[in-house]
């Protein structure tokens, strides 16, 4: 599924969307950066509650399709800036992590 379709279906807010045509290979959810580094796979969509800019470095290093900051968490302004600089797709949603993961699964985006 393309990121653009997911954004539309789940009404995600796009903070940075340089590559919305990207196909999403699956999803991963965790707030521990090292766990994400070790386990998330290329082109997965990462769900987190962390809003600081270091999440963008993780997304770059693992080559994730994008990051969704869930639970209505407001990211730091630097995070958005960094996402734009690094070409990382960054979204927010008021949906809690569990709800968002469930909805993604329903759309066919599995783990």
């Amino acid at each position: 599924m393309r990121l653009a379709d997911i954004v539309r279906e789940l009404d995600l807010k796009v903070l940075a969307g340089p590559a919305l045509e990207k196909k999403v290979a699956g999803g991963y959810a965790s707030d521990l950066l090292s766990i994400v580094m070790a386990n998330a796979k290329e082109n997965q969509l990462w769900i987190t509650l962390q809003g600081h800019q270091n999440i963008i470095a993780v997304a770059v290093l693992v080559e994730l399709a994008g990051v969704v900051i869930a639970g209505g968490v407001k990211p730091d302004p630097e995070t958005e800036k960094k996402a734009k600089e690094e070409g990382i797709n960054l979204f927010t949603t008021p949906l809690p992590v569990y709800e968002l993961a469930g909805r993604l699964y329903k759309l066919g985006v599995s783990g």
Binding site: M37, N54, I55, A57, L61, V62
Partner: protein
């Protein structure tokens, strides 16, 4: 490898204590260079993750430190050296989940106790030496050939 390079490429990065703004810049640059040189994506990924964990360890725990990288077509060597508290019990530090990071840092999602275990997992060679009260030194090698 699409591109051949004859000489060893050396990179060096100075790291500062608790500099969470610059955190990840060194490993991102290492990743960019390796990609550009045409290393296989698995090799780039493993080197980038190992470099990131080493970089974060210095930023979280040490007073200052340095990452040195030597790239040849055969392998990527990453040396991380810091001046800091050192590790009194390396065996314990290598256990998944063991951490000495303060709560403030753990709340940011760092300090999960997975840094050194991740490095060991993604590296082909890994050596750690440390002197309590002085600092820690890591030697990480990623082979370019296999994988």
């Amino acid at each position: 490898m699409e591109e051949n390079f004859e000489q060893t490429i050396s990179l060096q990065f100075e790291l500062k204590s608790h500099d969470f703004v610059q955190a990840g810049e060194a490993s991102s640059e290492i990743r960019r260079r390796l990609k550009k040189l045409g290393f296989a994506s698995d090799v780039v990924r493993r080197a980038a993750i190992a470099a990131y964990e080493a970089e974060m360890n210095v930023i979280i725990h040490a007073r200052r430190g340095r990452l040195q990288v030597e790239i040849t077509p055969r392998q990527i060597l990453i040396i991380a050296q810091d001046e800091g508290p050192g590790i009194s019990n390396i065996h314990q530090a290598m256990q998944e989940g063991f951490t000495t990071a303060p709560d403030m840092i753990r709340e940011l999602g760092f300090g999960a106790g997975m840094g050194l275990p991740n490095i060991r997992r993604f590296a082909d060679e890994f050596n750690i030496s440390s002197c309590a009260g002085e600092g820690t030194s890591l030697k990480i090698v990623i082979y370019a050939g296999e994988g």
